[in-house]
Symmetry: C2
Subunit: 247 residues, 2 copies
């Protein structure tokens, strides 16, 4: 596996309590796949300093890129930025460029102490532009610190993605058929065995009272992905069912 | 914190690739909160045996209850059950009761080798009823192994939840106001400081072009939760804005 790897660290009590449905993981997973970067783990942790510091240090040592989401707003529960400074063992200081951005946006009167926290970063951080609400994210080493609000996290990812070195892009092909998983499982295992460099996944669904399966082939070799998907299509035909091949 | 704790382990390449949006974490977070069990971590990992075994062992040692989702179907990429057997160091064997359930459901002819995998569990496992599609989940020690499909995972959770010992239920109250986070942050920090046993969270939103914030108080002491929410309401009034208090 010569592809670069990534992890996503979702920070926030609201995700663990079920109050908020995370939407950043699926977005980042898709974007990273398209860049040829393999997302190998995601974690969701609460707003607890010791947990954030330890998890940032564990994950950043293990992957090419670590993305955090959440905890960079102006309130008392927004502690990601300080925690990343602690994880890197550097001071947490006012960032002149972030200060300028927020001063321009809020003006002197509204730029209170709480909002100034959003201009404070680990020393040496490189800012990540936030075209939605101005308060920037930042990069420290291989750690990219993004907002939790999906619209802002997505805009920040678009701002930073030119900094990432991808591998060969992951492509996929999907075969959809009204065949239950258990019926096609044996043949599918043979296709996976014949293409060990590809991932063959099987995802059952129910539609209009009928059981079906989506069979997804993923990998970096476009021709092999297509060939494996066609082999799966022939399996479905062998069961006397039609299929749809996409991608 | 005398509350029991839980972790959720989401197993599946499709979540990391962004193909599938996880929906089980939010559901389990809400259900566990209602039972007075604090969800302290969630992880998403790929269908890789060594990773699953190591993560199950790490998490089950750290929390009162570990819930896994995904990877218990009939196909080659469904390896959660074997991995849990390896994590516990026990054989992975045909479970007589699961066999009976699947035999009744599929009949002799359709109960092929792939489907028999769904009747195979770590030795000593206690089954979890699946009223949706029959193939059961199971419990090994403090580890509860659920399906990945949300409708099935949810039904399985309902089947097993009488086995869990909860603590005092977590209750919450929410104040919604068209006040930007940065404006109310200082006062909010004071409310949090006055109620250290409660979690005070701040979640900004944008609606009809206006910025607002939802301020959520959570804890086990219902009266304290209400009092803290009312204190936040007075903060909003002090800023000359109306507010909505729910819960």
């Amino acid at each position: 596996m010569s592809q670069p790897t990534a992890a996503v660290l979702v920070i926030g009590n609201e995700i663990l309590s079920g109050r908020t449905q995370d939407a950043n993981l699926a977005y980042l997973g898709q974007e990273l796949s398209a860049l040829g970067i393999r997302l190998v783990e995601a974690r969701v942790i609460p707003d607890i300093e010791a947990t954030i510091v330890a998890t940032v240090n564990e994950l950043r040592a293990r992957v090419t890129y670590l993305f955090t989401t959440g905890g960079i707003g102006p309130t008392h529960d927004d502690i990601t930025s300080e925690c990343v400074a602690k994880a890197f063992g550097v001071p947490w200081t006012l960032n002149a460029e972030a200060h300028r951005i927020l001063f321009e946006h809020y003006g002197a009167e509204k730029l209170n102490a709480a909002r100034l926290r959003m201009a404070t970063t680990p020393e040496g951080a490189i800012l990540i532009d936030n075209p939605v609400s101005k308060a920037p994210g930042f990069q420290m080493g291989n750690v990219f610190v993004l907002a939790g609000i999906p619209k802002i996290a997505q805009a920040m990812f678009q701002s930073l993605k030119h900094r990432l070195s991808g591998g060969p892009a992951l492509v996929s092909a999907t075969v959809t058929a009204f065949v239950p998983e258990g019926t096609i499982a044996a043949g599918l295992g043979e296709v996976q065995a014949a293409y060990p460099a590809l991932d063959v996944g099987s995802y059952p669904f129910q539609r209009d009272g009928r059981f079906g399966t989506q069979l997804v082939v993923r990998g970096t070799d476009k021709d092999a992905v297509r060939a494996a998907a066609e082999a799966i299509g022939r399996l479905v035909e062998g069961l006397g069912e039609p299929f749809l091949l996409e991608g």
